[in-house]
Structures are given as C-alpha cells and as structure tokens.
Symmetry: C2
Subunit: 339 residues, 2 copies
C-alpha cells in the first residue's frame, strides 16, 4: 500500500496528537507512513507514487494512465479570483497537467455542513462548471455527503482526476546547467487569500487557474515540472532538487513577485518563496531551450521568468545582493487551509 | 459537466439551506444539478455516469476504464466489524466490483481534525492496509489535510478508485423473469453501527468487506448488479427497477435478515429493507442460471438467497403473508453518517 502525504500533515511527538503547525511532524508522519508502506507494499505496476500523481503504463497502447487526488479545505471558501470549487477543479487538473498528462475525467466529492446555503453551493457548482467548460474536461462521477451542523466547517471538496500521458514528466529530471523557469508572479493565491481572511484592502486576486495550455506548450522542452501550491516554490524546488540530486541556485532579483505580495509578506513576516500559487508552473529546461520556453510562457503570462539554474550539488540557494543563502523546505507554521 | 449525487444530499425548499433529513430535498437537489448539467454538458465519451462508477471505453484495447469516488463520514469511526478506513477502501472497491471492473488502484484522501489521536489514525491506516493486502489492490496516491479543532468531526476519508472492465455490468439490465439474488443477510452494517451509536448490547458486526470475489464469480450470469449501501436494498432495487423499466416483486419470507437486525429495526421503527449493507451484492440473474448463481454465492455466504423476481411493469413490491405492498425509495429521515 502506498500513501502520499502532503507536507502539512503534522503530528506532535509529545502528545501524540495531530497538529496543524508543527513542521517536524510532517516528516514524522512521513516516517510512520513509510513503515506501514514497507510492511504492506504490494507488487504493482504503479509508478511516480511520490509525485503529484501516480502513473500506470497501459499495455498495448503506448500511454500511461495518470491518477491523482486532493481534498480542498480552503478558508474562506470565496476569495478574490475564485472559490473552493474553482480551486478544487484547477488543482486536480494541474496535478495531472504537470505530469505531462491530458486530463480525461474528474471526480467531485462534496462534504457539506447541514445548514449550508443552497445559493453558495450553486455558486461553487457553477464555478466548477465554468472550469470544466473552459478546459473541456468533464466531471464524470461524484458523491455528496451532508454532515450535521458543526460536523464540518461549511464545505470540503475532494477532486480526483485521471488523465493519459505519452511521456511522463517527473519532478526528478533536473540536471546541471538546466534553467529554472516560473510561469508568472508567485504567491498571488496565498496572499489574496490571507488578505481576504484578515480584511486587508488589496487589488490582488488569486492566480487560481488551469495550467494545461502552458504546460503542454513547453512540455517537450522541460526536464522536470511542478505546480508550486502549498509551500510555494520553496517546497517544490527543494523537492525537485532532492529527487533530481542536484543543486538549484535562484537569483532573488529575477523572481517575479507583485508589489502587494511582497508588501503583505513583509507585514506578516512571511517569505514569498513559501506562498502558494494555484495557477503557475515551475519547470527545469535544458539551457539551450530556455529562451524558447520562456518566450512561449510569456505569451500566456508576461511575468514568466527564468529565475535560476541547476548545478552539481544538493539543496536550493538564493543569490541576493548580500550573498548566497539557503532556501529551506518550509517548516514550522505553514499557513493552514490555504487550499 | 456531469455530477452524480447521492440520495441524501438534501436541500430544504423553504429556508434554502442544506439539511440532513429532508427526503424531498434529494430530488430537488438532483433537479438543480440536472439544470447545471444540461447547461454545461460536454461532449465526452464517458458512460454510466449515473451508476456507481463512470466508464470510458479505451480505444485499441478491448477494455473500459472505470472510475468512482466516495467520501466517508461514518460515525462512530470505529464500529463492530470495522472502522472508517476499512469502510472507505471496501466501499470504493465494491463500487468498481459491481460494475464488473477489476480494481487497479485506489486514492486515499484524509481530512483530519487537529488534535486527532495519532494512534487512532494509525489503526485506520492499518485497516486500510489490511484490505489492500487482502485484495491485492494498491493505494497508489493520496492527500492529507488537517483542519483546525472543530473544523471537522475527527476524520473524513475520500477514496476514489479506478479499474478495468471488459464488460460493464450496469444497473439497468434487468428483464422480466430474472431472479433477484442477495449475497447475504441485509442491514448488518447499519444496525451494527446504530447499536454502537446507541450503546445497544449486541453480537452483531458490520458486514463491511470487499465483494470482489463473489461479484466476479457470478458476473457472467448477472443481468444487473449493485451493492446495497445507503438506503439498503430498497434504494438499489428501486433504482434497478426504474433504470431497467421493470417491476420487482420480493418475497418477504425469503429475505435473509439476522434476528438482531430485525429486532433493532422493530425497536427503532426502521425498515430493514432500507438499512445499509457494506459487504453484499444484489443482482438480477436470468431465471435459468439462478440456482447456479445462488450455489456460487452460498459458497461465499450461506445466507445468500433468491429473494424475488422481475416482471413487466414498474416499481418494487413485497409479497407478505398479508398481501402485496409497495417498497418505496427511502425518503424522509435517512440515517445520517452511516457511511
């Protein structure tokens, strides 16, 4: 049995209770799961089980089946630039897209609190419908549960997705001299959400959107690709560097960050490297194709930028005006319910 | 866009709030969804979108991809004969099995309340692992979210599943003179759960189990097949009768019901026809194969029985010692959080 856990599943060592804000817990939880996993591991043909989606080679047709799942607990459920429905559908579509898959169908499972507004539910369903219509990706199966008042905070949505990919894009394909490209400004989603949560006045809207077109457009040039959601580019670049067994060096001055995002981050003492995007891709591209890939991505979003490069070594570092500093895996107080 | 909703997604017409206990609401919700669905419907190749799982014909290989999802909000999370983890994995495996599919991989998405016991989580993970090991069906991808204290009642699990089927078994294949067979005593899960919830002393345990072997063993004889979960056999037989455009007549004396189940139902004023099973199949079988199919199912569970037959007409009826009565679709107060 294989279980993939996200970084903010946290268990406190002392009280043996699951907590929101204990970074070390994530690793501890992973260790616990690893144990069970090794114990129960089955012989099966699934691959990439530690990536955004698992893949299964389909015999007789030269294709891979790609399968992913995510639950969405975002708070507030309506935020500038989207809502929990749009987020859920885009999130799962994007997990397929960054694996190089063409999404074929999405499942939609709603868990709703008794007393939840019918109008709000319909708004959410309609925004799911809009993404489905826009992308041409159907929601094909679903489930709905209603929990008693207080049993759940408003609504939680799970979307699972399947797609087909000729070639799988993993997150472990980086090699020395690759360039790192991001497809737009970072942190918009997280900061738009926090602003709404704390009633900051800002023009900022979430970047929540499907990334199918841009990911497909550059897929033949990329060596590795991820969508920087929870933990932002700090989380995904560390993951890519570790799995590819390389070092990534970012140029701070080249990171596309909106003024509002930088300002709110400074205000709240957050690092914009760690803030979630929901409509961006980060990819590695062979040096010689970097300008070509950038040009393509700029057509979708002019903020796209080459933000760094890969070299021999380990870890992720940021080159700043005052010198080089490591960019760690986000730990400790992750922002809860950002997605 | 296609959305399939279960019968207990309920919206009250008056207060425009989603409620647990309003039967009519289910139909109303369905109508609302139908509207959106028609509006957003996409041209796609998915079929059986109103069944337990959606199916997609795979070109070049003579197989169908089968895709399903379910969220589990069961309360209590530990019950006689199982827990929310076992229930989640069996439930999704069974939705694939009754469609005639061989399950290929399951996704596991956990939403956990902050402060939830690590030991309880591990118990749940282990019972998921046991089912995975027993059936040889791997959990291949997952997600974990932690919600703040009070944000969710303990734990909610979503499992989605994919499988492959040469021949799809739909729930609309019944025709006149078919026999109706159930693969064991009905209502054990629901009543075991209620007994635990209300602290009744009983030996009864949930029937929660995978039904892969029995469903495969009889698949070549069945004309239609379902697993009678929420709403019990009353719900699934009405669905099968309606979709097959036939009448089903059950013989009350032939229904396998355990004494404890009948007793608790009488005590609580419930109908055992409406109580959920989690390890049973109900199928239609051509008259001439009925005894053969029964013999096979009895090898798995000796309580298996031919409980009725199909004839021309509409609806589901029960033949009792005092005459014939209709068996309606369960409406009104469904038992909440039974699965």
């Amino acid at each position: 049995m294989i279980i993939v856990l996200d970084t903010n599943t946290l268990i406190s060592k002392n009280n043996k209770m699951i907590t929101l804000n204990e970074g070390s817990g994530g690793k501890q939880m992973q260790k616990l799961i690893e144990k069970i996993r090794d114990k129960l591991k089955l012989k099966d043909n699934w691959r990439n089980i530690n990536d955004d989606a698992a893949t299964l080679k389909l015999k007789n047709i030269n294709k891979n089946l790609v399968f992913t799942t995510d639950s969405y607990t975002v708070n507030p459920i309506f935020f500038p630039g989207g809502d929990i429905g749009k987020l859920a559908l885009c999130g799962t579509i994007n997990d397929l897209a960054v694996m190089g898959a063409k999404p074929a169908g999405i499942s939609l499972a709603l868990v709703i609190e008794e007393g939840f507004s019918e109008d709000d539910l319909m708004k959410i369903i309609f925004s799911i419908g809009e993404v489905s219509k826009k992308t041409g990706i159907p929601v094909v199966t679903g489930d709905t549960k209603v929990m008693n008042k207080g049993g759940i905070d408003k609504i939680v949505i799970n979307t699972s997705g399947i797609g087909f990919a000729k070639n799988i894009i993993s997150n472990s394909g980086l090699s020395a001299s690759d360039k790192i490209i991001v497809s737009g400004s970072i942190g918009d989603h997280g900061i738009a959400l926090l602003s709404k949560r704390f009633d900051y006045e800002t023009e900022l809207v979430s970047d929540c959107a499907p990334v199918i077109k841009e990911s497909r457009a550059v897929s033949k040039y990329v060596t590795a690709m991820k969508d920087p959601t929870r933990g932002g580019i700090a989380a995904v670049l560390n993951e890519m560097a570790e799995k590819s067994n390389v070092k990534i060096i970012l140029d701070e001055e080249k990171i596309p960050v909106k003024r509002e995002v930088a300002a709110v981050c400074e205000l709240l003492g957050l690092s914009f490297y760690e803030i979630a995007c929901e409509g961006r891709i980060v990819c590695g591209v062979k040096k010689e194709y970097a300008d070509k890939a950038l040009k393509i991505l700029k057509k979708f979003n002019n903020d796209s930028a080459i933000i760094g490069e890969v070299s021999k070594g380990r870890g992720v570092f940021v080159r700043t005006i005052v010198g080089m500093r490591p960019l760690e895996v986000p730990a400790g107080k992750l922002i809860p319910r950002i997605c």
